[in-house]
Assembly symmetry: C2
Homo-oligomer: 342 residues x 2
């Protein structure tokens, strides 16, 4: 209200209420106002109340960019995921976000679209924000991005995979073991002519290779493989199943790289009056929230995505606060959920 500002160089900032305004109104020094807001136990009840009143009256919202700059603690966590639309990572992101929010952290979301070029751009953009931690969906392949990440010194958690050489922390499971387990599950169900509908990524590759190995070990003919590349949709699942039915008609079981692909395979099987699971077993991967309730209910590989997200958030926050994480590499495992389709 009563301002007498005189300066040669003027450079009014955002115009928003600042800590100084609040302090002046409360009749205290800025640092006391800061403490009243962030560490109320360090301030006498009397002054605390005056500051609180001033905050309420002005509608002051602290500028976290300024705070972050001053304290080198941004209270930001970045997540880098390949895709956000109906992806297996959704549950993980939601859990991550919720856990972070409850402790006053904010989530920045970056999408790499399965492109490593874009991922590198994204990483620089992310590092520039100086987040207190970075969540990665997957394990980062060696390259410029990985190097820069390590150089940044920011705590990193890689997820949804296992590797002997993590950047930092790791919360995942073995894709190889899944390939093995699924093949053996199907074989034990009496299936003889296995197939696989796989995505183009490297994790799908490891599952497929293990699947092939287990099949070879059992003395069965090698599986028919359809690689759908980046097309993880129901549509491509249908097309893939059509191809299997046409080119490898003896097939009696298919392992799909994702639940969506499995749903597509199932759709095509129904379309062609193939009886599931006797004539054709179908398994998915991911156990996205709705496949349990469909008819037939999908037999699939379940990953506890929520647990991964929650744990990752905790680890990142612990590290941001200087604590050491006692078990920085965790295998959360997986389970085969037996339902109607296999």
């Amino acid at each position: 209200m009563s301002d007498s500002e005189t300066s040669k160089r003027t450079r009014r900032g955002s115009g928003a209420i600042t800590l100084h305004d609040v302090a002046r109104l409360a009749g205290v020094s800025p640092i006391t106002a800061s403490r009243a807001i962030n560490k109320p136990e360090q301030v006498s009840p009397e002054l605390l109340k005056r500051v609180e009143d001033a905050v309420a009256r002005t509608g002051y919202v602290p500028n976290r960019m300024a705070g972050g700059l001053a304290s080198s603690r941004s209270k930001l966590i970045a997540a880098v995921v390949p895709s956000t639309v109906i992806s297996v990572f959704n549950e993980t992101i939601e859990a991550l976000n919720n856990t972070l929010f409850d402790s006053g952290y904010q989530l920045m979301l970056g999408q790499s679209d399965y492109s490593s070029e874009r991922e590198e751009l994204l990483l620089d953009s992310v590092i520039g924000r100086r987040p207190d931690g970075i969540f990665l969906a997957g394990v980062m392949q060696p390259g410029k991005g990985r190097t820069r990440l390590m150089a940044s010194g920011i705590p990193v958690v890689e997820t949804w995979d296992l590797t002997p050489t993590p950047i930092d922390m790791l919360i995942g499971f073995s894709h190889k073991d899944i390939g093995l387990a699924v093949a053996n599950y199907l074989i034990q169900k009496g299936k003889k002519h296995l197939a696989v509908i796989r995505a183009g990524d490297e994790r799908a590759d490891r599952r497929t290779v293990a699947y092939q190995e287990a099949i070879a070990q059992a003395g069965l003919p090698p599986p028919f493989v359809v690689n759908v590349g980046g097309e993880r949709s129901i549509h491509s699942g249908r097309a893939a199943m059509a191809k299997i039915l046409a080119d490898a008609p003896k097939t009696d079981a298919v392992f799909c790289s994702s639940d969506l692909l499995a749903l597509g395979a199932l759709t095509e099987a129904r379309h062609q009056n193939i009886e599931v699971p006797n004539q054709m077993a179908v398994m998915g991967f991911g156990d996205v929230p709705f496949v349990a309730d469909m008819l037939p209910a999908l037999t699939t590989v379940r990953i506890n995505g929520g647990k991964i997200g929650q744990l990752a958030a905790q680890y990142l926050m612990d590290r941001a606060e200087g604590k050491t994480v006692s078990e920085p590499i965790v295998d959360v495992g997986f389970s085969i959920i037996e339902r109607d389709t296999a």
Copy 2:
């Protein structure tokens, strides 16, 4: 390498490479280094090259918190959505994120979980980051949150709905018109005993009320209503359909508040050998990416979510850059996609 730092109060920052380091290495002043990076056309080729080399050699990544503080431009956009797991907003968020990223903006994601208490907390947290714009999934009800948002002066775009009193910009469509259109569509197909499976939110309410109106207008008996509250799953869709079949057996058409609910309804119908669409028509809402390829393919209301996201991003960025948005209120409409189930 050769440092001789002497100061009484030491407070080493993050320890990362700063613009000063780059400038020193390039033999220019910090401001020249800054210009070389941000406005290269203002710097002579000679110095530009020296700065670029220094950046490459040091692996310098600008600290955007510092830059944001100095310029009052964070290059951050915040999105507030109720949920991220298989929600109709996913496509919008992805488009928003992609459009922003291409212009150097980053997305912060906040989840309100359909709770207005949480939404208020979230809003303060978001405002504290001083984003250049805020994306809202839905329109914000009057209240403390809305007031604070308006007071913040940050550009806001509300979406997925229409209102005569937007906070700022608005990109949506009429839920009332959808209720009307769906009812008339079903009626015109010869359906006489309509029902609705709705969620608990206010938008679903408006669709339902309009649906009831249109039915009344046509002289048909009022629809049987099942309110699933916050349970937007396939599971609750199944349960709701079971209830309809038990309590209102004459029902020959159901409009569902979401595609997932519709899928559940369809599942139950199949389970009870109800023939779709003749005996029972089912319509969804949202046209999530996979319902088109299922068997039967779902007849549903399609919203161009991608367009909303892309437009919202553009509007927010324009406003952040001081441009005026010529048409700040847009009705993107909707369409009924006729497929197998109605």
